[in-house]
Symmetry: C2
Subunit: 288 residues, 2 copies
C-alpha cells in the first residue's frame, strides 16, 4: 500500500479556514440571504463551492435589511462595520484573530503615545481595515510600502511599528532598523503571521522523507511556486499541479511514500481530491 502524507501546514491558513467554517455554519441558521463582503478567498473553485451552498460574494450594493453579511478574514474598518449594522444587516465577523491583533496593537501604541507605522501594502484590504481602527482610536500614523515612505515618521520622537500579517519579513526588518536609527524611541509589535514560513518549513521536513512530492496550487501563485522550488531542491521528484486531473500515473510507479503540500489559496477538499486520486492510481498498480 502506498502511504500518503500531507504536510503539517498546507493550504489555507488558520484565518481563512476559520472564515470558511463560519460561512458554512451561518448556513445552518440562515433565515436570510448570506453574503461575503468581497470574495472570501482568492480561489474561484472555493468561492463557487460556497456559492452553490448559498453563500454569495458581493461588493455590498445588493444588501437588504435582514441579510447576513460575513466580514472576511482581512477585516474592514470599524466605521464600515457600523454602517452595515445600521442598515439592519446581520453581521458575522470572520476577521482573522491575527488581524484583530494588529487592530489592537495600533490602538495600544496610540494610547502609549506612539506615532504608528504600519508596514504593508497601501491598497490591501487588511491595511485599509487597520487604518480604520487607527482613526477610530484617534491615532496618527502612516503605511510604509517603500523605504521612502518612512520620512514622515522621522518627525516623531516615539514611533510604534506593526505589520500587515502577510508582510515580507526582510522588508519589515529594514524598516524597523532604519526607523530605530533616526527616532528616539521605537516600539515594535511584530504582527507578521507565520503561516507562510510554517508552510515552507513543513515542506522542507516532508520532501526528503518521501519518494514523490505533489505541490497543489495556482501555476501563477507566488507562494505555491516557492513551495515547489523548496521541495524540488530536496526531492527531484516534485510535481506542481492545480487539480487532481493533472496527476500522471507514471509518477507513482514503484512509489511507497507520497508527500502533499498546497499553497495558501488551496482548500482542504482539493487536497483530499488529490489524495484520493493518488490512492486510486496506486491501487491499480503493482507496488514492488
Amino acid at each position: 500500500m502506498v502511504e500518503i502524507l500531507i504536510a503539517e501546514h498546507a493550504g489555507f491558513c488558520f484565518g481563512v479556514k476559520r472564515a470558511v467554517k463560519l460561512a458554512e455554519e451561518s448556513l445552518k441558521e440562515a433565515k436570510s440571504r448570506i453574503f461575503t463582503l468581497g470574495p472570501i478567498i482568492h480561489n474561484p473553485q472555493e468561492v463557487n463551492r460556497l456559492k452553490n451552498l448559498g453563500v454569495y460574494p458581493s461588493n455590498g450594493e445588493d444588501f437588504k435589511e435582514g441579510d447576513t453579511v460575513i466580514i472576511r478574514s482581512h477585516g474592514i474598518p470599524p466605521e464600515k462595520e457600523e454602517e452595515l449594522k445600521k442598515k439592519g444587516l446581520n453581521v458575522i465577523d470572520a476577521t482573522c484573530p491575527y488581524v484583530k491583533a494588529v487592530h489592537e496593537a495600533v490602538c495600544k501604541l496610540t494610547e502609549e503615545g506612539y506615532f504608528v507605522v504600519l508596514v504593508g501594502e497601501k491598497n490591501h484590504p487588511e491595511v485599509i481595515g487597520t487604518l480604520g481602527y487607527l482613526r477610530a482610536c484617534n491615532g496618527k500614523g502612516i503605511v510604509v510600502e517603500t523605504l521612502d515612505d518612512i520620512k514622515e515618521a522621522l518627525k516623531y520622537e516615539k514611533v510604534g511599528i506593526v505589520a500587515q500579517t502577510t508582510q515580507n519579513e526582510q522588508f519589515f526588518k529594514e524598516v524597523v532598523g532604519e526607523i530605530a536609527l533616526w527616532v528616539k524611541e521605537v516600539k515594535v509589535i511584530n504582527t507578521i503571521c507565520n503561516a507562510t514560513s510554517l508552510r515552507q518549513e513543513s515542506v522542507k521536513k516532508l520532501a526528503s522523507q518521501v519518494d514523490v512530492m505533489i505541490i497543489i496550487g495556482g501555476k501563477n501563485s507566488g507562494n505555491t511556486r516557492r513551495l515547489y522550488h523548496i521541495s524540488k531542491e530536496l526531492n527531484p521528484k516534485t510535481y506542481h499541479i492545480e487539480t487532481a486531473e493533472e496527476l500522471e500515473p507514471e509518477w507513482f510507479a514503484n512509489v511507497k511514500r507520497v508527500g502533499i503540500s498546497a499553497g495558501a489559496s488551496t482548500p482542504d477538499w482539493i487536497i483530499e481530491e488529490v489524495k484520493n486520486r493518488i490512492k486510486e492510481i496506486c491501487s491499480g498498480q503493482l507496488v514492488s
Copy 2:
C-alpha cells in the same frame, strides 16, 4: 588677513569636554590629591597637561581616605562607585549625561518587563558600567557584539534594545531589525550619541567653503582619518596633522580662508595652537 574657521563640531565630544572641565574645577577646591579612575581621554598630551595641573590618572590601587576621585565620562558600575565612597574617597561623577541616559534606559526597560539587549563592545568600560546598572535594578540582559550573540535574546517575548553611545549605526540597525523579526515585542531606545556624525557633518559643511582644510588628530585614529577622507573628497587641499609643528608654510600661499577640524581625542588647546600657528605663518606672507 587670513580667515580661520573652526568646524562647528570638532575635537572632544560634549561628555569629554565636561569631564575635563569638572577635573579642572576640582583643582580649585582641592584639599586632597586628585585622581581620575583610568585616563580621562585617549590623548597623552591632555593627560599630561592635567597631570601637570595636579590631576593624576590611576587604576585605584593608590587611593587613600580623603583623596578626590573623578569618574570619567565612560561611567562605572554603581557597586564600584559605592566601594569608592565606602573607602572614604571624595567622588566626583563626570559620567557623560548621555551614558547616564543608557543606565536609566536599561532600568526603565527592566521595569517594563523587557529582557535587555545592549549593543556594544563586551570589554568597553562604558558597557561594563551599564551592565552594573542593569544588575543593580535586577534586570536581565546581554551584550550583543556580533549577530551571533542575539540568540539568547530570542528566548524572550519582550526585548528592549539600547546601544553603547559610540556604537556603529549600521550594526545597531541590523541587530534591531533581526530581533524584531523573531520576538513578539521589541522596544528600542536609541542611545547612540550623534557626536561622531555631527563632527562629520560639520567637516562636510566647512570643506567646500575654504581654500585649505586642516584636520588634527592621531595618524592612527580611525575617526580622524574618516574626517580627513570626507574633507579631501570635497577639498583636495586637505592636510592631516597631529600637532602645529607639522604645518607647512607653502600650504598657505595665496590662501584667504582656512578651515580646521579635529578628531574626538583632540583637546581644544591643541586646536588653538594650530590656529595661532596658521595666523603666524600667514601674517609673514603676502596674501594676494
